[in-house]
């Protein structure tokens, strides 16, 4: 058999894209007579700040970003994921996706297995969940088993997770009562500005790639306004394609509640957009998109989710850099690259995600790092540059520190047009980064608007 060296678009993870968004008429029929439950945020018990809203998970499930996952997990499925990183169908999946609810209210509604529950958002009908199981869990135990420990996962976990880790805190702060079952969005939301123009669910992104004639597309994960180190990562990683560099670069920003001190979502999206708007990457080769997800900052686990999302979106390649989706020093800085080059047996992956049954088809591009080299006089790749001892490394924290002190970062590390985007949103929120007030505003507004919808509820 002859094998072409040309790479083609991979199938969705699990074989087909989930599409669980129904039209309003059908939605009203599905929800008729159901008890109603208002989705509410997960709250940081220390500060009272909202740190997650499960509506984002409903959206990512229903629009196919998390395919083949089509609902919130039952106990068995969550256990399978925490033990082997596998759904009950056997497909790889990194995180337990848990719809935790107020147990007392649920009992009051008389909800039991086999029922359908209407989920309201901003006081309006939004989705339904077919209740397969109501189950209880110990949030701390789930948090620990989701991320691992240095004893159980010595390949990559460097120290025990605690409240300073936003992802661990998210699980730790759940209610302990969960509803598992399939979800459907019954009242399709409108994305608010600026989010609307970045909303490309997998079926739409695949169409867009076709429209642009992109056969090969490399994904760039982001939770940051890009500095020039990110820009170089995108440009250089895109050189790996097949018979030519990748046709397209897909920037996919994770949009949701982030840790205090990260950039605000609006600036992240428009900052990336400015990179091509002002020609630092040709617009025809660059597409900025988003996924709704309250980031767990799970480094290798997060990278697995990123692989799933971007494969579903139709990407052929995914770049992974140092400290991927990480915070603090909980993980080895190259934990993600360990996963994508050797696998992490203690996480249930004895081989890389693309070399296991029911694994992924997206190709990793493991990149070390870019730094400024004063000898070369340019931004250089760490594995090419011979002046390691002179290297001036990029640091997002350092850049944020500069900005906070009111110092405009020099153009060699930050494009002026990108900085102007930060200033634009800084003026809007009176603060350039995520703080408690931003999280509260974000929780009140969310990224979506819903039209009124008549549903007769129980």
């Amino acid at each position: 058999m002859r094998m072409s060296l040309k790479v083609s678009q991979p199938p969705p993870h699990g074989g087909r894209l989930v599409n669980a968004v129904v039209d309003r008429e059908e939605g009203a029929r599905m929800a008729a007579g159901c008890p109603a439950y208002d989705i509410r945020p997960t709250i940081d018990p220390r500060t009272g700040a909202p740190i997650r809203n499960a509506y984002r998970e409903v959206m990512s499930i229903a629009y196919g970003f998390f395919s083949p996952l089509d609902g919130f997990m039952t106990r068995n499925e969550a256990e399978s994921v925490m033990r082997d990183r596998r759904l009950l169908s056997g497909w790889l999946f990194p995180f337990p996706i848990i719809f935790d609810v107020d147990g007392e209210e649920l009992r009051g509604l008389g909800v039991k297995e086999g029922d359908r529950l209407l989920l309201r958002l901003k006081g309006r009908p939004f989705a339904v969940i077919d209740v397969e199981e109501v189950w209880r869990f110990d949030p701390r135990d789930v948090a620990d088993r989701t991320f691992g420990t240095p004893e159980r996962n010595p390949e990559v976990v460097r120290r025990r997770f605690d409240e300073k880790h936003p992802g661990w805190l998210m699980y730790r702060s759940m209610t302990g009562t969960a509803v598992g079952g399939r979800v459907h969005v019954i009242n399709e939301p409108r994305l608010r500005e600026p989010y609307g123009r970045f909303w490309y669910p997998p079926s739409a992104s695949r169409l867009e790639f076709g429209r642009r004639g992109w056969r090969t597309v490399i994904a760039h994960q982001t939770r940051n306004v890009p500095h020039t180190g990110h820009e170089h990562l995108m440009k250089e990683a895109a050189f790996l394609g097949d018979i030519e560099p990748c046709n397209g670069i897909l920037v996919n920003a994770i949009i949701g509640a982030k840790r205090l001190g990260d950039f605000v979502d609006e600036a992240i999206l428009e900052g990336h957009e400015a990179v091509s708007r002002f020609g630092y990457i040709r617009p025809g080769r660059h597409l900025v998109t988003m996924t709704l997800w309250d980031m767990r900052y799970g480094n290798p686990l997060e990278s697995l989710l990123h692989g799933i999302i971007r494969q579903n979106m139709g990407c052929t390649h995914h770049m992974f850099g140092r400290d991927h989706a990480a915070v603090g020093d909980y993980y080895d800085p190259y934990a993600t690259q360990t996963l994508w080059s050797k696998g992490i047996p203690s996480y249930g992956l004895p081989a890389p995600p693309y070399d296991v049954d029911r694994g992924l088809k997206i190709r990793p591009v493991n990149i070390q790092e870019f730094w400024y080299c004063p000898v070369c006089g340019e931004i250089a790749y760490s594995e090419s540059c011979g002046h390691r001892d002179k290297a001036e490394r990029f640091s997002g924290s350092f850049v944020r520190g500069l900005i906070a002190e009111g110092i405009e970062p020099p153009p060699i590390i930050f494009r002026p047009e990108v900085y102007q985007v930060i200033v634009k949103w800084w003026r809007r929120f009176n603060y350039p980064f995520v703080n408690k007030r931003y999280l509260e505003t974000k929780e009140a507004e969310l990224e979506v608007e819903l039209d009124p919808m008549e549903v007769t509820t129980r």
């Binding site: 300073k164 800085p333 001036e392 924290s397 906070a404 590390i413 603060y431």
Partner: protein, 114 residues
């Protein structure tokens, strides 16, 4: 383990350290001037404990400390030089109390540039 902390120098700060014999380092092709201080492990732990948002970045630098702390530290460096004593000085209880009060305001509002 020894970590580092950097103080970025704008024009006003450059003036203040000019005659103090403090070593100033060029960063990113000279676009930025910084003072780098070495932070012994114990002192680093104290800084991280005092400022919940502070963290050690990929370069081994302590970052995301309050702006008020950096200002206080800079003043201490001007008086005492760029050694651990300056850090100890900026961490004195009466200074810490003031820094924390200012830091809580910093979390609420930072004036945008004109």
């Amino acid at each position: 383990m020894t970590y580092k902390i950097a103080i970025v120098l704008d024009k006003a700060r450059m003036e203040k350290v000019r005659s103090k014999g403090v070593q100033v380092k060029d960063l990113y092709g000279g676009y930025l001037k910084v003072i780098e201080l070495e932070v012994p492990d114990e002192l680093a732990k104290r800084i991280l404990a005092e400022f919940p948002r502070a963290r050690i970045d990929a370069r081994g630098f302590i970052e995301e400390t309050p702006i008020a702390f950096k200002r206080e530290l800079f003043d201490s460096v001007v008086r005492m030089g760029a050694g651990p004593a300056a850090i100890e000085d900026a961490m004195r209880p009466e200074k810490l109390a003031r820094i924390k009060e200012l830091a809580s305001k910093e979390d609420e509002y930072l004036p945008p540039p004109n």
